[in-house]
């Protein structure tokens, strides 16, 4: 059992626990969102000893050098002194400039920044509430001259963060936003490659950014977007996507509904099954999967079996963290 020291306080990391587990058990005020090394919101620092290598996976070299590490991935190998980061190091204040509903349960939030915000379309950021509650949300636009980021937020019943955004946040409010993270984005190379984008619900957010980016770069291969939900009222941006499909002859938009009521112009069935039935051979295709974790995991396997190479499969599972 190793000692973890923060300032004057000492905590004991039990066998099998991560540093994050210990801190949460002891009610230390530390932010986290994924508990699996993806979101980087649990970043802390060990000023005098090198943290285990496995707790620094995916961090930038500059942060590694300063002994920053991810508390959720750290299983201590010796006693550690730990510094919680000054949050302002990692978060920028943005101002909400648009706050309106895209459909009955999805909020369009546009946040503006003073300075340019660096990101690739399709990446995500962590938003943080003043009490420290942190959640990841995907960026839905491409870099703008106006330094704005667009988000699509689905209201989850009793979801702490999403209800707060829906019910309490107003235009003019400021909100803390982390740097952009994640590997699910478009690279402007092999432009003749086929692209298949599959998303459920607000999984459309990163896919919309990726789509805009690909079209903007003059991607010439076929681009298929499959967007699914149960009912037609839970889809959004349907008309905009149809219009894009009219304007770009290599872009195909297939809105899918798994519920009973399927109006004209929509395909009946689960989005993953329809995508797989439509595209028979995915050899040499690039695949983007966003949204429901089960859909994402199942599709990673299925698109691989249909010939897509692992390195061409990009995915963001919208995991919900159990707390």
């Amino acid at each position: 059992m190793y000692k973890l020291t923060i300032g004057e306080k000492t905590y004991y990391c039990q066998p099998g626990e991560s540093v994050l587990d210990t801190f949460l058990r002891e009610n230390v005020n530390i932010s986290f969102a994924c508990k699996k090394g993806t979101c980087h919101s649990c970043i802390v620092r060990s000023p005098n000893i090198l943290p285990p290598e496995s707790a620094q996976v995916g961090l930038k070299n500059t942060l590694k050098k300063l002994n920053h590490f991810l508390a959720c991935l750290c299983h201590p190998e010796q006693n550690m002194v730990i510094k919680l980061p000054d949050q302002s190091e990692f978060y920028t204040e943005g101002t909400v400039v648009v706050n309106q509903l895209l459909n009955r349960n999805t909020l369009l939030l546009i946040i503006a920044f003073k300075d340019a915000f660096e990101f690739n379309a399709g990446q995500f950021v962590n938003l943080q509430r003043p009490d420290g509650l942190t959640r990841s949300y995907s960026i839905a636009n491409i870099p703008q001259a106006s330094n704005t980021l667009e988000f699509h937020i689905r209201r989850l019943p009793d979801g702490r963060f999403s209800e707060w955004l829906h019910d309490e946040i107003k235009t003019g409010d400021t909100i803390a936003v982390s740097e952009a993270r994640g590997h699910c984005f478009y690279l402007p190379e092999r432009k003749e490659q086929g692209l298949v984008l599959v998303g459920t619900g607000t999984g459309l957010a990163p896919l919309a950014g990726i789509l805009t980016d690909a079209l903007g770069h003059g991607h010439s291969g076929p681009i298929y977007l499959f967007h699914g939900s149960r009912e037609v009222d839970d889809l959004y941006r349907v008309d905009e996507m149809r219009k894009l499909a009219e304007q770009h002859q290599n872009f195909y938009y297939i809105p899918c509904l798994s519920g009973k009521h399927v109006p004209e112009g929509f395909t009946h069935g689960r989005v993953n099954e329809i995508a797989l039935a439509t595209l028979v051979d995915l050899k040499d295709w690039r695949v983007f999967l966003c949204g429901h974790p089960e859909m994402v995991n199942q599709m990673k396997k299925m698109t691989f079996l249909k010939g897509a190479s692992m390195k061409d499969i990009y995915a963001d599972a919208f995991l919900i963290t159990a707390t």
Binding site: N297, K301, F304, M310
Partner: protein
């Protein structure tokens, strides 16, 4: 000093190429794919890399006891010689597809074969 099989086959890039072909074969094989259900693809790919690195006699930290432990829960649900043979088949076919010379394939097969007792918990 003579080069290891791992180096002669082509090291890490060869392993990566082999994993794609091999894993697709395994997941498509009804005789054994049930052992690979419910595993996270990314983690599984890492494990397949470990498998090939081992089969090529490359750098790895696995002992026979580790192999027993890693496969014990599979033995419990029926992993036996027939499944082991199927994996050996795919290993061979993968290397043939990658145009690895026969003599090297034989070496890799012999290394993998030597893990049979541990994998099957005998």
């Amino acid at each position: 000093m003579s080069k290891t099989l791992y180096e002669r086959i082509g090291g890490e890039p060869a392993v990566s190429a082999a994993v794609e072909i091999f894993y697709r074969k395994v997941l498509n094989d009804y005789r054994i794919n049930r052992f690979f259900d419910n595993v996270d693809m990314d983690k599984q790919i890492d494990k397949q890399k470990a498998f090939f690195t081992m089969a090529f006699g490359g750098p790895n930290n696995y002992t026979g006891a580790d192999m027993r432990k890693a496969h014990a829960h599979l033995v419990e649900i029926g992993l036996d010689d027939s499944h082991f043979d199927a994996v050996m088949e795919h290993l061979g076919a993968t290397l043939v597809e990658l145009e690895v010379p026969d003599t090297l394939i034989a070496e890799a097969a012999a290394i993998a074969e030597s893990a049979r007792k541990d994998v099957l918990g005998k």
